[in-house]
């Protein structure tokens, strides 16, 4: 009988431990989820800066369309700017960022951890060739000077009178000083005419979040998830001839 009892005790112990090991980690606290890409450009001093503020939801929780009761603060150089809730989860204000400004963000809301984030505005982009409103041929190239803190360059052009639109990405190598974009590199869509081109440089947060790895959950933020990045834009008009 003693042996039987001992065996049963052992069995009960084993079967209990089967259950004990079933779940090891169930805790999760909701966090901020933001998406903000600050903008600076060569021609505007004050620009509207937008940050979308959202949050994560536990799997068994209903979601809300946005977060409209957060306190969102930007700091750069010696300034502090509160972003005001606008609509649809967007918070905005006018700010005058310059290239290489370090901009920090803080978001506060009851029930969520405070989010901190930081980005360094890239730029400026200099267009070395062509000069504005000049004439270029199909065999020509657009030449940009590499700027500081830029991780990805994006060019977007459209014909002023027409439907031709084209775009190109460029990822600079470590020792590059110039970006040379042959116009033929835009493909067969170019026709002669007057063109407007925008060139945008994005910081590494933007690049990491959207381009390098779409499985990462945060870039440039701590205490929450999402993206806090920045960009700089310049533009040029020129005429394309045969």
């Amino acid at each position: 009988m003693k042996k039987f009892n001992a065996a049963m005790s052992l069995l009960i112990l084993i079967f209990c431990s089967f259950h004990c090991d079933s779940i090891t980690d169930t805790e999760y606290d909701n966090q901020f989820n933001i998406c903000g890409v600050l903008r600076a450009d060569a021609y505007s001093i004050l620009m509207v800066q937008e940050v979308r503020v959202d949050q994560t939801y536990k799997m068994d929780e209903r979601s809300e369309p946005w977060v409209d009761d957060a306190f969102v603060l930007l700091s750069y150089r010696t300034q502090l700017d509160t972003l005001y809730y606008y609509d649809g989860g967007l918070y905005h204000d006018y700010c005058d960022f310059e290239p290489l400004d370090t901009v920090s963000i803080m978001a506060i809301k009851d029930g969520l951890d405070t989010l901190f984030g930081s980005t360094i505005i890239p730029g400026p982009i200099s267009i070395i060739h062509p000069n504005p409103h000049n004439t270029v041929s199909f065999s020509d190239s657009i030449i940009l000077k590499i700027c500081d803190n830029g991780a990805m360059y994006y060019g977007y052009g459209e014909k002023i009178e027409g439907w031709d639109r084209l775009e190109a990405y460029y990822l600079p190598e470590e020792n590059d000083t110039l970006i040379i974009i042959p116009l033929q590199g835009f493909g067969d869509y170019l026709g002669v005419g007057y063109y407007h081109f925008q060139f945008v440089v994005f910081d590494s947060n933007y690049y990491n979040y959207f381009i390098d790895n779409d499985s990462i959950v945060s870039a440039g933020v701590t205490g929450g998830i999402g993206l806090f990045g920045s960009s700089y834009m310049t533009e040029i008009y020129f005429e394309l001839v045969e």
């Binding site: 084993i14 431990s17 089967f18 259950h19 090991d21 079933s22 779940i23 090891t24 980690d25 169930t26 999760y28 909701n30 966090q31 989820n33 998406c35 890409v37 903008r39 937008e50 979308r52 959202d54 949050q55 994560t56 939801y57 536990k58 799997m59 068994d60 929780e61 209903r62 979601s63 977007y156 925008q198 945008v200 959207f210 779409d214 959950v217 998830i225 999402g226 993206l227 960009s231 834009m233």
Partner: protein, 753 residues
Amino acid sequence: MHFLYLMLFSASSISGFVTDAANGEKLGFANIYFEDLDIGSAANELGYYIIHSVPIGSYRIACSYIGYETKIVPVQVKGNSKLFINFELEPTLMEVEGVSVSAERMRFEKEVEVSVVTFTPREIKAVPSLFESDLIKTLQLMPGVVAMHDLSNKMYVRGGSPDENLVLLDGITVYNPSTHLFGLFSTFNPDAVSDVELHAGGFPAEFGDRLSSTLNITTKEGNSKKYSGAASFGLITSKLLIEGPIPKGSFLLCGRRTYFDALVWGYSLITGDSISLPYYFWDGIAKVNFNPFPNDRFTLTALGGSDVLEFEESFGNRPEEKIKLEWGNRGTSLRWRRVLHPKLYGEFIGAWSNFLTHLWYEDYLDSTNNIHFYEDITDYTIKGDFDYYPNDDHSIAYGLDYKYLQFNYNLDATEMRLIDREENAHLTSAYFQDQWSIYPPILSVQYGIRSIYFNLGKKLCLDPRIGIKARVATNTALNLAWGKYSQFLITLNNQESYFSIFDFWRPVVADNDIPTAYHIIAGVEHWFGEKSRLTIEPYYKKYFNLLIPDQTNMFFSQPVENLQTATGYATGVDFFFRKDFEDLFGWISYSLAFTRREIGQTWYSPRYDRRHNLNIVIGYKIPRFIPVLKHSTLNLRWYFATGLPYAEDLARYRRWYYYPYSEYDEMYWYEWYNIKGPRDGHRLPLNHRLDLHLENNFRIFKLNGSWYIDVINVYDNKNILFYTYEPGEDPPEKKGYTLLPIPVPSFGFEIRF
């Protein structure tokens, strides 16, 4: 030399082989003893025995084996004589389930070994199975062996991944043993198997080149007494086995093929529906034994098999393209066993093994698009093993082993070779081991060393091994084993995925350190009489320099070039209780296991870390007074285990996409993404399942036969394999998926002639 001469030739001895008189199969671990002297011996696994130091005189020598009639032979021993006596034992009418128990008891008496389980084909067939009895699925019921899911055909042995298992079939290294039906069936046809021996750890120096376990499969010799055979028909396969004598030898031919494709084709002909199932597999084993002289035996074994998936895309009635994927194992071994001297037994093996994968794409409209991809591993082995029995106290084994390994990876376009990669490796090993009965029968030790030279990086590994056995009582032994193990080949596909068609093997390159493991095992083995035994084995295994593919795909593993270096450990306790009554037999195995790996500074439990694993297998001979079911056996298997670790979805979020310079309003958009917890943060629910196998033996038209019915997952438990969250609802619905959504029946029959 003089000493050796004296040892070899100075005393009388009796040696020989023990075989089954009905079919000539060897009987390993038979008991040989003198009726009128207190000396005796046991045959080794090849049925060879030797009794040393027999005094001059006339005696009666007996050979016994459970399930066979004891045979007694009178002998006259003269001075310095070397008598060679073979025993052929007649089977009794008694059922033979006990045979393995007898052999295991003799192993307990004779061998210093830990973590060994053995099986006979009868036991493999007795275990309930889905469609087809399977050797590896039977081994998954053993302590220390974990299956990833209900249909898995891979063995995770004591925290080791399947690529850490050495699988040998008649000396042929089988690199992908679980390839049939996308990894659901093993490549071994149980009808052709004679013995299965699994070392779950602490294996001796004669085995090497793997970190975790060895699975040594021996096929049947072939009936040397008469022509016989068996044909069996199951739900998805048919099998045929033919064996018989040849002059001075025997042969065996065995094959099987699935016929789902043919059935579906026949159905489509009848109904006119254009349906097809473009998949089948086949495998076969051929073996020839030839004994030209009493002391020489040549065995030629050939193994082959393929899985074929082939389909055509058509536009109307015009075929446009064809894709064909074929993969399979092939191998040949030639073995020469020779009794060089009654005390010295040698075996020489030349073996070739190949695993080949082909993919053809044929474009009927534009042949310049045709491609052919193939990938293979080829293993050429030359090996010599020697067993030397100098006296009753020592049993020495030593040998040499040379392997030439070729790895090819090619992609051909119509007129051009796009990829041409070939790697070669040479592996040269030597081993020595001695089983020494220090204080017989109480204290024995087996010590040995294996040295391996690997040409890539010019690496030399010395792997010492030691085992100690203390018989603290007649029926009880304490075992201790320690050893170092090295592995020189790795796989490029992650072994944590639920499914894989086959493994992509590569040599460890010169820049990497050799993956190494240390085993320490302490166990107790206790016998309750002659037919029941209990083993309890705590173990600890430490890993270094593991090379793990940088990919964690849950479902299908794919080869990747990036490997991560990992360390880790596996520890636990295995319990095994096996009992064999006349009408009731079976076993209970339970494993408590902890497996951890470290990559960088991060520790985790791999997906196959099953904490508790309980298997109960019971076979019951139905009483003969029950009509219809007389001559029937009912086998049940119940399985109960902890769920596997997985990364649970903890939360979800809108992943916003944004381009700040768009002139359109839709510059923001999003997709829902989930945030996963740690890869081992949660465990799936408990797994349990009851399977049933009913087998009835009958006789018809002077032929013996049997039919069987299997039901898997009798009480319809849903063993969850993974979860998904169904989009479209808020919050999303969590849904679990299982591989066996309903109880699955299968049936078949066999005719023996």
